[in-house]
Amino acid sequence: MKPFNFTKANNQAEAVKSIKPDGKFIAGGTNLIDLMKEGILQPSQLVDISRLPLSTIQTNKSGGVTIGALAKNSDTANHPLIRQNYPLLAQSILAGASAQIRNMATLGGNMNQQTRCAYFYDVAMPCNKREANSGCGAMEGLNKNHAILGWSESCVATNPSDMSVALAALDATVNILGTNGKIRTISFTDYHRLPENDATKDNNLKSGELIVSVDLPKIGVPTNSHYLKVRERTSYAFALVSVAVVWYAKGGRINSPRIVLGGVAHKPWRCVEAENFLGGRIANEENFKQAAEIALKDAKPLQDNAYKVTLAKRAIVRAFMNANGK
């Protein structure tokens, strides 16, 4: 590991003031320390933000819930407000990692976790995400775990977070503290980005900015939701494909459906066209199947991952069937 300067931030303002362009905030450290051990990330400075008072989970003015950026994943998944009102979020968090890692990992850190693409992790391989313009090893390499949607010639990696898939489906918004001391708010679906021609950036966080919290809007009732994760072993594995679905029942019909896929793209992949198709229709298998076809119609699989197209369609249908009436 490369040497770094280590300091502790006493408050948020000090944190954003003290961070250098090649510095990193550290909280849980579960992804950052691993990447630093491998030499993939080599920050010259770590600013410890783990003791800042940003871990509360509470009802907000709009009747929703605000989760502090430093709330541990295990605390979020087990908070009564989350388990009762947003079981989708609890499910998605509990589907990820292990109990030990969830006890360490924070909301903000989970949002910023980096891809598990093997070419990103292997410093002997070219990777446009690790080193701009070095090439992509996965494009013509072993790519069964890679993207089928939204990828570019620059990068075919996927975002590994389960939690982010659920937050995108719940219409969450992200509150970000800038180096100017002001808070800006963006929608969760605009937080992560597609690789386009710069794979080095996973998200739209600017240099020195700090996530302070995520807002969940007031949940409508009755709500139906489900997080389905398909993986190669039943526990402690990243998703091949995952899907978060949520909708509200209104007069026997589907109201405001949300479909977000994980494991298929550089960001949580919201299926807006399929959502528009389902809105106002009756909740039955035939409609779910048609929505799934629409959701995957633009999929462009690589040489090893065409299976993900079929898998994603079936996962969408099953998630809706599981959510129906729950």
Binding site: M1, P3, F4, N5, F6, I26, G29, T30, I33, D34, K37, L46, D48, S50, S74, A77, N78, P80, R83, Q84, P87, A90, Q91, L94, A95, A97, S98, A99, Q100, I101, N103, M104, T234, S235, Y236
Partner: protein
Amino acid sequence: MDKQNFPTNQVPDESRRDFLKKVSAVGVATTALTFFDGSEVFAEVPEYVNNVPAAAMSVKLNINGTLKELPIDSRTTLLDALRERLDLTGTKKGCDHGQCGACTVIVDGRRVLSCLTLAAMCDDKKITTIEGIATGETLHPIQQAFLDYDALQCGYCTPGQICSAVALMQEAKNGEASFVTENLNVKAANLKLSDDEIRERMSGNICRCGAYSNIVAAIREVQNK
């Protein structure tokens, strides 16, 4: 399963670590295979862990009830601090990348991975390692159950398994959910865990010998008492 008496006070002439290092060295000499050169078997200890510069930072670690102040290089993980600097070698280094759970310790009541924790971030936190699980000579019920149910073979993952299981007991007491918990809407304390629940909750601790069925049996015995 019959209870077995394991010798607990037989200390070999040389430490287990030294012995294993020698076995590893023999492996190199006799097989000359690069894949068994020791570094593959034992995750490396970075040079900066023991070679601390004079201007190093200082950290106060509260380990098993004892406060230890230690000058460290800021890169030092809690795992390396425990094993290399404080001679608390019960905590094991397996993968050193957060994938195996061998390094599990309990910090402020929660199980965490010491290999992905910077010692510098543990100032004044209460750390419990496998050396602090028993009360004096009395084993923790989980430790006793691991003996009774023969819940190990080589034993390398066992300290991590035990720390993890001890924390799991508290999580179940608190009513915390897992991915296989049926009804998330209801939070009830003092959960009784099915085997599926135990397996899911212990999935962060890998046992290469495959002693899982006996590990589950040991935890079931204590958890459902």
